[in-house]
């Protein structure tokens, strides 16, 4: 068969496919619906023609036309169209807590990397009040005293920002820290460990120092509620990063890149949920935690309930009753 015969024999089919591919995105209500099975059949036929044309070394423009046609068809046919609410609901009902449980070793290591420095620096700052000066300068320390002390105005604010502006600030700032904890995992997990430890150390120094100063009730009542989401969120972000780092360090029988891609696909589910947790945390931190008119005892009560809910959510939510493997 000569190239010309080949082209005349199949040109009608290619033109039909070209027309179908051009039509789909501009489709409006009431116009002819696209016959998906027909498009798929045309696409497969065009793929076959391309393979034949290549093996017979047909002219370049013919192959070029078929390559363009099949590439467009491929993009159209394999496009994911289901971004529905079902998927979002399933994420929070099943996928997110299940992914956290599947990564429980990483979560534990991330927790140690965060809480270890927090506890050590916290105790050091409590025992030796001068110690905090090796982490922050004196001006900052005075600022912290004013923020978490007995002064008037909302707790935890440098200037008299409104609740809404602080909400924006917490989203902007805290999620950036969480993303750093996640992305740092690409450096064999060292980055995640570093960001976790550094943030733990800062939190510990504040807690220890303010406890020594006698502002413990104000500070802890401020932290307790949003901490349930924010501190867990940071640990989860670090755990997702550690999963990437572990895949790079010990890829098993796959190549490092293949292991990394696979680990990222699993870990990103944690990141989805983690983002939502930070939004909740920012709302609590801006509108509830900072309020002086709420008695500390009430905050401790609500905060305790939040910690309990978060704990129960990650331990029990989304387990399948019938599947013994996931309920181990």
């Amino acid at each position: 068969m000569t190239p010309l015969q080949f082209e005349t024999a199949h040109a009608a089919l290619w033109q039909e496919l070209e027309a179908e591919l051009g039509a789909v995105p501009k489709r409006k209500r009431g116009s002819q619906p696209v016959d998906r099975a027909r498009v798929a059949a045309l696409y497969r036929a065009a793929c076959e023609h391309l393979a034949v044309a290549e093996s017979r070394a047909y002219p370049v423009w013919l192959i070029e036309r078929l390559e363009t046609l099949t590439a467009r068809g491929h993009q159209r046919i394999y496009r994911e169209t289901d971004f529905g609410l079902d998927k979002l609901a399933r994420l929070f009902v099943v996928d997110f807590p299940a992914a956290v449980r599947a990564h429980r070793v990483y979560v534990l290591i991330a927790l140690l990397a965060f809480a270890g420095p927090l506890a050590v620096i916290g105790v050091l700052s409590y025992l030796d009040p001068g110690f905090i000066l090796s982490l922050h300068d004196a001006g900052m320390v005075a600022e912290y005293e004013r923020m978490y002390g007995d002064a008037d105005g909302p707790i935890g604010r440098r200037s008299a920002g409104s609740d809404w502006s602080m909400f924006g600030f917490y989203i902007f700032n805290n999620l950036r820290i969480a993303f750093q904890c996640f992305a740092g995992g690409l450096f064999f997990g060292i980055g995640s460990l570093y960001y976790l430890a550094a943030n733990g150390a800062v939190a510990g120094s504040l807690a220890g120092y303010l406890t020594w100063r006698g502002f413990g009730e104000t500070f802890y009542s401020f932290v307790v509620t949003h901490g349930a989401f924010e501190l867990t969120g940071v640990v989860l972000a670090g755990a997702a990063g550690l999963a990437l780092g572990h895949a790079l360090l010990a890829p098993g029988r796959r190549s490092r890149l293949a292991a990394l891609e696979d680990a990222a696909r699993r870990a990103i589910v944690i990141v989805y949920g983690m983002i939502a947790m930070f939004v909740v945390a920012a709302a609590f931190e801006a509108f509830w935690s900072s309020a002086r008119w709420v008695a500390p005892q009430v905050k401790f009560g609500v905060g305790g309930a939040c910690w309990f809910v978060v704990f129960v959510y990650f331990v029990f939510q989304g387990r399948s009753r019938r599947d013994p493997a996931s309920s181990r």
């Binding site: 000569t2 190239p3 010309l4 015969q5 696409y43 793929c47 076959e48 393979a51 290549e54 093996s55 017979r56 070394a57 047909y58 002219p59 370049v60 423009w61 070029e64 390559e67 363009t68 099949t70 590439a71 491929h74 993009q75 394999y78 496009r79 994911e80 971004f83 920002g161 409104s162 609740d163 809404w164 502006s165 602080m166 909400f167 924006g168 600030f169 989203i171 902007f172 999620l175 950036r176 993303f179 750093q180 996640f182 992305a183 740092g184 690409l186 450096f187 980055g191 990437l244 890149l257 990394l260 891609e261 680990a263 990222a264 696909r265 990103i268 589910v269 990141v271 989805y272 801006a286």
Partner: protein
Amino acid sequence: MSARSDLASRLDTRYAAETPEGIALWLRPAGVAPRLYAYLVDLLIRFFVFVFVVLFLGRLGGFGGGLALVVLFLLEWLYPVVFELGPGAATPGKRMVGLTVVMDSGLPITPAASLTRNLLRAADFLPSFYAFGALSMLWRHDFKRLGDLAAGTLVVYAAQAELPRSAPPPAPARAPAVPLPARSQAAIVAWAGRVARLTEARADELAEIAVPVVAPRAQHGDRVAALVGVAHWLLGRR
């Protein structure tokens, strides 16, 4: 592909993604420079959007300030994700430069992959100004930055390289003097398709390579027409 030799594939950055249908999708990954241009365009767009938002929301006091920071967060992290999941699979900057983001299997990008590659910007950015990302792109044949490695994505040129599809200029068909293997046939037909864009001297110079074998009886001043005639014969006009 028989026509594309090993030697060429070492220089060529084209990337073959094989599909379940048994054909190869040829992707052309984009290097550091076009992606830098696209990034700068996006940066400019984000900057102006943010300035506009601040000017507008500044009048709303604390509420507006908070909203502006949320917008800044969205612009910094989710702006690329939203556009990459849209119809063009590219941010406005990438679209302007003619780039698009796909999975390295040639498939359209998935939400998970888009979020992965854009959050891992934080790693690419280190130690400063995307140094690790640029190093990774320069190191690799397919120009993936660290985020692309983890997400399994590629930034490619959106448009296929358009070859002029012009058929050879008219000439009387002429059978070749010897039977030709497929690769030689393809070379002669491809040359004939380009004749219209070549200078006469260059077309003649190229024809000189093939004519003594293919059409040994062609006259000296007639070589181009003779070889075009052979091309017509090969295409099927007999």
